[in-house]
Amino acid sequence: MSVQWHGLDELREALKHLPADLAADAGAIVDDTAEAVADELRFDYPERTGNLAESVRVLRRDTGQFGVRVQVRSGSKHAWLFEEGSQTRQTHLGWTRGRMPASHLFVKTAQPARFAMYDRLKAMLVAHGLMVTGDAD
C-alpha cells in the first residue's frame, strides 16, 4: 500500500518563502495602521499653534528581513503636557489660567488602532494557511 503526495515540492518551496511573505504582508498592515493613527492625531490635535499636529511623525525601524517595527511619535515639547495634563497653563497672551486637564488623546487613538491591527494580522496569518489561537491583547 502506498500513498502518493502531490505538491510536496511546492509546499516545501512555499514554507521556505513563508517568513518573508508574512513579513511583507504584516509590514503593509502595520504601516497602514501607523499612518492612519498619525493622520487621526494630526486631525484631532488642537490648531492653536499647529505645533502638535506638525510634530507627528511615523518612524520605520529596521528590524531585519523578518520583522516589522513602526513607531508613531508626537515630537512636540508640549506633547506630554497635552497628553497627561499640567499644573499650570498660560494663554498665548501670557495669562495664567490654571491647570490643563489630561487629554489622553494619543493613547485613546493608538490603542483601538492597535487592537484592530491585531485582528488584521490574525486574518492575514489565516489567509496564509496558518492557524491562530488566542489574542494579542
Binding site: W80, T96, H104, V107, K108, Q111
Partner: protein, 144 residues
C-alpha cells in the same frame, strides 16, 4: 441590578489613599483628574480608556486603563521617583476590592506603560513640577 463603573475608580483611589508609605511621599492626597489648588505633592488618577466585553446579559468584563502619576513640586523637596515606585508596587500585579465586581487583574500596561515628564510652570519659569507614574489596566467582572 446594574453595576456602577465608578466603583472601580473609587476602589483604585481608596487603595492608594490607604497606603501609609505612599501618603508619606504624597501627603496632599490622591485626586481624580485635578488636585486642590495649593497641593504640592499628590497623586492624580485619570481614566484613559475603557472597554467592555459583552455577553447576552450585559457586560462580562470591564477593562479600564488609568493614568496614575505622582505630581511633585520640585521646590517642595518631594521624591517623585520613590512615589512612582510605590504606586507600581501597589498596583502592578496587585489586588483591588471593588464593590459589585469580582476582581480579575491590575497591572501596568504592556504598551505605553510609563509616564515621566517635567513641567515648567507657566507663570514662573524657575518652578518645576515632576510627573511620574504609569498607565495601569484594571480588569473586573460585574457580579450578579
Amino acid at each position: 441590578m446594574p453595576t456602577d463603573s465608578s466603583a472601580i475608580d473609587d476602589a483604585l483611589i481608596a487603595k492608594l489613599l490607604g497606603d501609609a508609605t505612599l501618603m508619606a511621599l504624597t501627603p496632599d492626597g490622591v485626586y481624580m483628574d485635578e488636585a486642590n489648588p495649593r497641593a504640592q505633592r499628590f497623586v492624580i488618577v485619570s481614566l484613559v480608556t475603557e472597554r467592555a466585553s459583552m455577553v447576552f446579559e450585559g457586560r462580562a468584563i470591564e477593562d479600564t486603563l488609568y493614568s496614575v502619576k505622582a505630581v511633585i513640586l520640585v521646590a517642595s523637596g518631594g521624591n517623585a521617583r520613590a512615589a512612582a515606585a510605590r504606586i507600581d508596587e501597589l498596583l502592578d500585579e496587585g489586588t483591588l476590592s471593588v464593590s459589585g465586581y469580582g476582581f480579575m487583574a491590575v497591572f501596568r500596561d504592556d504598551d505605553d506603560g510609563r509616564i515621566r515628564y517635567t513641567e515648567i510652570d507657566a507663570a514662573d519659569k524657575e518652578t518645576r513640577w515632576q510627573h511620574r507614574g504609569g498607565r495601569y489596566r484594571v480588569q473586573v467582572s460585574p457580579l450578579g
